[in-house]
């Protein structure tokens, strides 16, 4: 699907033309600190994410991965430090977000009173991006095709399985034509087969839309499967950032422990 869809409706040209433009963002995080009570969750964290790349942040549970993601999307404010999106400080009072940032939550966060189509179209309807309903339907249909849920438009959200809910959440994020997509533990609570399906969906997204992707996971196999680069987070700090090959060759003992299982499987030739 080409998100830069031609649309003949000219009456809402500025909203629509703004929506159709898509420019992947780069992010720079400098000395980020966050406390929850006495718990120093993010500790002088530095990280750079390049436009259009797929960066996977891995770490054990409780190391601050989801908290970092929430800071990037603006759901949390840091106690100190800076976050720059395309060079602009997001906490500057004069900052105006010109980019569309989408997030796929660990729980999928679908609205249970809405159908699949209504969930996916929510951003488009609430922001009146298109004047014509047929344009919205086309975007919904195209995004559901990308995630392999054609024909499920009228299904109510509570009737979906876990894997289907995750795919609808991805479709909803895609429908925003985002410049950045964040994934919070996209394969958690899914069986291995469905987890692989979700991994393939994420991997194939860039065939359809130019976007920067940041994925947070403790699933090491997922990280090695889809990442351009991997950042290892431990106790609120980034230990190392590199390509999957570079991470697999890391001399850091913690990283070696973390990646050991995956590397053993790779060496054994086991299908993941």
């Amino acid at each position: 699907m080409n998100m830069r869809t031609e649309n003949k409706d000219r009456t809402n040209i500025s909203l629509e033309s703004n929506y159709l433009q898509n420019s992947p963002v780069g992010i720079k995080i400098i000395k980020l600190n966050k406390f929850f009570g006495n718990n120093h969750v993010l500790n002088d964290l530095d990280l750079e994410i390049f436009p259009s790349e797929t960066l996977v942040i891995i770490g054990k549970s409780g190391t601050g991965k989801s908290v970092l993601l929430r800071h990037i999307i603006g759901l949390e404010k840091p106690d100190s430090g800076k976050i720059y999106i395309n060079g602009k400080d997001v906490n500057d009072p004069n900052f105006r977000m010109k980019h569309r940032l989408a997030m796929v939550f660990q729980s999928s966060a679908l609205f249970n009173s809405l159908t699949v189509a209504e969930n996916v179209a929510l951003y488009l309807k609430e922001h009146a991006v298109f004047e014509v309903d047929s344009s919205i339907k086309k975007v919904v249909s195209d995004t559901l095709s990308i995630v392999g849920l054609e024909g499920k438009e009228d299904v109510m959200s509570p009737q979906l399985s876990g894997g289907m809910r995750k795919r609808v959440a991805i479709a909803r994020a895609l429908a925003m034509n985002p410049d950045l997509i964040l994934f919070d533990e996209p394969t958690s609570e899914l069986d291995p087969m469905i987890a692989r399906t979700i991994s393939d969906v994420i991997l194939n997204l860039r065939k359809h839309v130019e976007v920067t992707q940041i994925i947070v996971t403790h699933d090491i196999d997922l990280a090695f499967y889809i990442a351009d680069r991997i950042a290892v987070l431990d106790e609120g700090q980034i230990l190392e950032v590199g390509t999957p090959k570079e991470i697999s060759r890391s001399n850091n003992s913690l990283i070696k422990d973390f990646t050991a299982t995956h590397l053993e499987r790779e060496e054994g030739g086991t299908q993941v």
Partner: protein, 260 residues
């Protein structure tokens, strides 16, 4: 944070939510389908029990006062007494408590569930204001519907009183006399008195129940706790504000034929 600080912080946040809800009323027309849907839910959930309660409250009022009035030969006044009691006090209070229990609890449960399962966060990431999307339709629906329910409750309650007044052998007041007395006693300002209270109570129910729902964190257990908290808080505030609104009306002589 100590109790006093928490009290002022909570009060400030509730007032802020009220101001935001009023601000977002400008989007009511474009969101009219949501408002109408909320109004229909309030009506569907409330009218059947409201009919039952109102009949028996009206009957109870007549039963309590009728025999005593009859002792002094004043039984013909029973219509006005029942009507005044319902229109000014019991109609607004009982309707509001029912709405708080049936509808307010559902509002809290729904918003608390959305908060716990990150649906509110999802709205924010899509740059959709949760107050405009979730609170404003419920706010407008409640303040529009509750006065209608109060009038409905008053009418049913007055009828309930008339039945008891006619059938009870110690009161024995015919319908015609009962309703004649109502016409002679009740002024439009009495009805307005009750409707203004309904408006105030509607604001309390919608804002308090939505606030508690939106602030819920944790898991499914916290949803249940939030529902209980919002209903109890709504009940307390309804009774409190009923006193202060009544006192204010008495002070300014709004609809009162005497000075206090």
């Amino acid at each position: 944070m100590n109790g006093v600080t928490a009290f002022f912080q909570t009060t400030g946040e509730i007032v802020r939510l009220l101001v935001e809800s009023i601000y977002w009323c400008k989007a009511a027309v474009t969101n009219r389908s949501k408002v109408l849907q909320q109004m229909a839910e309030i009506g569907n959930n409330t009218i059947p029990p409201l009919v039952l309660i109102s009949i028996f409250i009206g009957g109870g009022l007549a039963l309590n006062s009728g025999p005593t009035f009859a002792l002094f030969g004043l039984e013909a006044q029973i219509g006005g007494v029942v009507a005044i009691g319902l229109i000014r006090e019991l109609g607004p209070i009982m309707s509001s408590i029912l709405v708080a229990g049936r509808v307010g609890s559902a509002m809290t449960a729904e918003l608390a569930s959305m908060s716990v399962y990150q649906e509110i966060d999802a709205l924010k990431t899509m740059d959709i204001n949760p107050v405009r999307f979730l609170v404003m339709p419920r706010f407008i629906a409640t303040i529009l519907t509750l006065p209608i329910l109060v009038v409905f409750s008053d009418v049913i309650g007055v009828f309930g009183g008339s039945v008891v007044a006619m059938l009870n052998h110690k009161i024995n007041v015919p319908f015609a006399v009962y309703y004649q007395n109502i016409q002679e006693t009740i002024l439009f300002v009495d009805v307005l008195n009750g409707l203004i209270k309904a408006l105030v109570f509607g604001i309390i129910i919608s804002i308090v129940c939505c606030y508690v729902g939106l602030k819920t964190k944790g898991g499914p257990r916290e949803i249940g706790v939030a529902v209980t908290r919002s209903v109890v808080l709504s009940f307390i505030l309804i009774v409190l504000f009923d006193y202060f609104v009544t006192r204010f009306f008495v002070l300014i002589g709004f609809g009162y034929r005497f000075s206090v």
